[in-house]
Structures are given as C-alpha cells and as structure tokens.
C-alpha cells in the first residue's frame, strides 16, 4: 500500500537531499505499523520524538502496534531544544 511521509527538522537528512519539505510517497507492506516505516527509512527510533498520522499524535507506546492505512500521512519530528 502507499502512504506518504513528511520528515521535519534534521530528519530531512534521511530523505536524501536534506532540503525536501514535501510529502514523499512510499510503498509499504499492508498492515505496516508506524515503527515499521520508521525502521524502513533507516531512522533510529530514538531520533523520532513525535510522530503523527493524519495530524493526530501517535504515543510512543503505540508505534509498534498502530497499523497504517493506505493513503495515511505519517509525519516524523525529531527531538528539539530551545533556541
């Protein structure tokens, strides 16, 4: 199935060009969870502070159990610090 991914902050580097802000479509296995997609992108789990699906936050404890649906938008946000 196809889902779209939005990487923010320094996580953009995992998209390759480091400057892309656009939502990127990717193919994942049916029933893939949020954690599956994070692993597929090669992002260490601890580098994702917040993830949301269609704008709704996914608690860290639910990442491994919450399946995605075709067409979902998954947004990943890194830890941040004030500045």
């Amino acid at each position: 199935m196809n889902v779209s991914i939005k990487l923010t902050g320094r996580l953009r580097d995992y998209a390759g060009d480091g400057q892309s802000n656009e939502t990127v479509p990717i193919d994942v296995a049916d029933g893939a969870t949020v954690a599956d997609v994070i692993a597929l992108l090669g992002i260490p789990a601890e580098d994702v502070a917040v993830c949301s699906v269609n704008g709704r936050a996914v608690p860290a404890t639910m990442r491994s159990s919450q399946p995605l649906c075709a067409g979902d938008q998954l947004t990943l946000m890194p830890p941040i610090q004030g500045g």
């Binding site: 939005k6 923010t8 902050g9 320094r10 953009r12 580097d13 480091g18 400057q19 892309s20 802000n21 580098d47 502070a49 917040v50 949301s52 704008g55 709704r56 936050a57 608690p59 860290a60 947004t75 946000m77 890194p78 830890p79 941040i80 610090q81 004030g82 500045g83």
Partner: protein
Amino acid sequence: MAWQGKILSVDLSAGTVATEPLNMEWAHDFLGERGLGTKYLIENMDPAADALSPENALVFATGPLTGTMASTSGRYAVITKGPLTDAIACSNSGGKFGAELKFAGYDLLLIKGRASEPVYLLIEDGEVQILSAGDIWGTTVWHTEEWLKSHHQNPSIKVASIGVAGERGVRYAAIVNDLHRAAGRSGVGAVMGSKNLKAIAVRGTRGVTVKDPKRFMAEVASTNRLLAENKGRAGLTKYGTNAMMDVMQEFGGLPTRNFKEVQFEGYDKVDAKAMHRVGRDGHRNLITNKACFGCTIACGRIAHIHKDHFTIINRKEYWHASGGLEYETAFAFGPVVGVDDIDACTFAGYMMNEHGMDPISFGVTLAAAMELFELGLITSEETDGIELRFGNAEALTVMAEKTGKYEGFGEVLALGAKRLCEKYGRPELAMVVKSQEFAGYDSRAMPGMGLGYATSNRGACHLKHDTFAEDMADQSASGKAVPCKESQDRTALVDSTGLCLFTTSSWGMEEFSQLLDAACEGEWTVDRVLVVGERVWNLERQFNLAAGLSAADDTLPPRMLSDPVPSGVAAGRVNELDKMLPEYYDARGWTDSGEPTSETLSRLGLGTV
C-alpha cells in the same frame, strides 16, 4: 584558577573606576556569569529601585570557563533589573566580547550611577578610561563599533554597545556585541542608555589559567568528541535553530498571528529550508554559518537580502552579509506577524542588530498591535499611514526601523506588548509573562513550556528550562512540574559557567562538573553544581519578591488558559497551569504563595534579601 580574581567597579556618577578583588566566597557559592552576577547585583542595589534610575546597577559577568579551551566558552551575561519586566534581567550573549573581557583581566564589571554626559568605557588589559561618547551618541550599534575600532586604531577591540533604542528607553532594547550577537532580553540596553553609557570597548591579551591543565585538556577533548558525534549538534550546525520551524508547524506549536493560531501556512517560505533554497537570480538567503568564540557548534547564520527587495533598493549599506535568521527571529518576524517574506524578515533582523533591540519582544509587540489594528482600536492615522495588518511585510520592516530609531509609531511599539495593549484598553491581548513577550512556542500545545514561561524569573522565556521532550511525548499537564523545576536548576548552572546552553544537546551535569572540577579550585561534584543551579534560581526569586513581584505574576494570558488550541497534535487543549503550579511550588520547597521556605533557604545557604 579559572576566575581572574578581579572585578572592575565603575561609578558613572562620580566618574571613577576601581579594580577590586573578586569575592571568592560568592564565586564558590554562585560560580559565575548569571549566578555570580545576580549576587553582585543584589548586594549593590535595592531590588525595589526604578530600573531606569541611577540606583539600578548593571553587571557584565563572565563565568569561570569563559575564555578557556572548552567549547562555546565565549559566553557572558548582563544582569540588572529589567525595565520591561521590573524583575531580574539576566541576558546572555556569545560572540567574542565575553572572552575578551576575561582576557583583559576581569571576571565581572559592576556599573553604578549615571554619567552626566554620554560616555563609553575603554578597557585595555587593566587600563580603564571613561571617555566622552559625544561623537557616537545618537548613532547605531554598527557605526559605534566601527568608530571605536577606527578611533582607537585597533581592529582587535571588542565592543558591546547600544543604539538609539537603548538611548531612548525602548523597553526591550538590547546590548549588541560583535555586530550581531546580543544580550537581548528584558531591556538591558535601556538600562545602559539610562546610565548614559553608549559602549564598552575592550581589548585583552592575557590568558586564563586552570587548576589542572593536563586534565582540563583531556576533559575538553572528551566533551568536544561528544559534541562532534551528536546528531542534535550536527543539526544545529547545518540548519541552525530555524530547523525547528517545520517541526513546530507540524506539531502545532508555532505561534501565528499573535498566538491566535499555531500553524502558519507560509512557514516553508521562512524556515531553514527556505534559507538554503536557491531562488531568483541564483540568490540564496543563507551564505554560511558562524561560530562564537571557541565554539564547535557554529549555529549562527550569516545571510543577505536580494538587492531588488523593496527593503534595500538604493540602500547599499544593507547589501552586505550580516546576521541571519534563527528560529526565534524567524518566528518573531514571520508566523507571529503573519509575514512569509524571507527578505523582509532578514531585514527586520538587521534592524534589531543595527539599532539594538530584542527581536522576540519586538515581533510579539507588533503582533499585538496588528491585532489591535484589525480590531479597529489602532488606526492608520496613528501608524504613519501604514496598514498594520497581519501579513504586511512593509509594516514589519518599516516599524522595525521606526522603533529602532524611536520615530513615529515606533515610540508606541517601544512600550512592549503589555504596556501597548493596556494603552488601548485590551491588556489580555499581550502575550506576555511578567510583561515579557513569549518566545516561539505555544503554551497550550506545550504545557511544560507554559509552566516554564509562567515561572521564569525574567518573564516569559524558553531558555530557562527544558521540557521539550516531556511536551512532545505528552501534551497533558501531567508530569511537567518536576522536570520543569529540575531543568531550571540545570539551566541556571549552565548559564553560570561561561558556556553555551546548546552544549546540553550532548552534555549532562557530569560533563559540566568534570570541566569545572579540572578548571576551578575546590571540588565540583555533580551534586555541588546542581545545588549551585538551585541556589541561583532561588536567589533570582528572592530578588523578584523584594522587587514587589508575587505568585500572582506566575501566570499566563487568558488566551493560553481559556482558548483551546485550534489545530495540531494538541488540538482542543488549553494550558492547565492551575494543575501544575502547586506541584511546582512543592517541588521547589516554596510556600503556597510561591515564597521559598526558611528550610529551603537554609538548605541552599541563602539569607534574606
């Protein structure tokens, strides 16, 4: 060791200077910079005094690690009573000025009184003169620095100065050093102006000694390696702090149009990516990054404006590269005023540096004025014909310049958001705590941030605590009070060392304790440095209580407490400060009315103020 062991005491009323020994007992209790500066302030003024009167004192304080080989060792702090807040002001800056002051032989400058005519201070390796500033009064920060270097025929002089904004008492006037680094918050520049002190020019050629040089170098190598390998640090180097904008956008914590909203449709035109983007005529906003003294992070941005942009057409003096957008400036000139023009935002940043103003306070004050304008309470007759509407880039840039020059409606914007909103009968529209404007994080989406804003001793501030992880993990009020208190204490310690807060992307208290233990006389364990941090926080609280503030000032504007956040991951929430504050006071060892108990003061070795 690490401390130079001397302070410079300046009485501007009498026109005298004196070198005095550093009070080492205080240094051991309050360390340096923010902590030691606060101690010196309290011992040299009545906290109830008017911030803009000669009775206020102005302290420039370095830390024991300022000017050492440790990474980010360029920090110094300005401590005084703030005219924006009527509370303690502790405004921290980087650049090269702080290390230079240390190299000149001083840990701290204590400035009292008021000069009868404009003056500047010239410090050259312990030789100190008070000189007439008649030739530079009324000029900009940028002109002042150039003039001083030229006049004294020494390009190595480092300068901290004020612009017209400081001279004329803009409530959020900054002290700018090295052209575009600033002790920005709470109006410390207005205090300097009230003393008729235009600038401090310093040249130092002495070193800083440490207790155990071999061990210290090993600790420096070890801590530098941690920074080098840290992903958060790498992000700061590559993108600068503005990498946070799209994170806050997606999270729904990006204050937009005076905090009415938390997501801004034009965010991607002013974020870090936009700074990197090559656009028209091959122009790219960002030129390079920049480091302060001794820094291995280099989060600073150097940028330029497209020469065809309306702000600088036929104004060649602004065609050069200068300090670029960071997250807080991008937020303050972008989303919170609804502007998505990166060149206009960059120009507004130039105005802050050139004239010496705090961009956060200016931007949030302008946002409040825009809301009042759109409500019909401010008219274009008052604003010199400018339509003060959200999204109007010309309103942003024109008002930034007018405020810096203290002209026209800029004189009203100079009041800050609280006083401006009171003037127009709508005090609830000021997004402030203790009269100081919010930074770029919404308190409803980030409840720990709201608690940190409410309890910050210098008024709303995002840099006096660190609950980012807790806020991003869970947007309820639960579990925020203790992390807020503990991070406030850690931050107070870091701000007292002479090093930059951004090292905490990689370092914990263990690293700070090891660096201090290798550099400073005595034994600096983790437990000891944590007590120093807590002691500094409580001393600042004591200053505020003596200045007349109370628990009633530990609050947030009604918009944060009552209006649900309209979108983002925390949609529907308000800040539940009433649930967090009692737990916070309890964790602090304070009474229900927010005063440190006698047991707490005794445990921290603090007396009465």
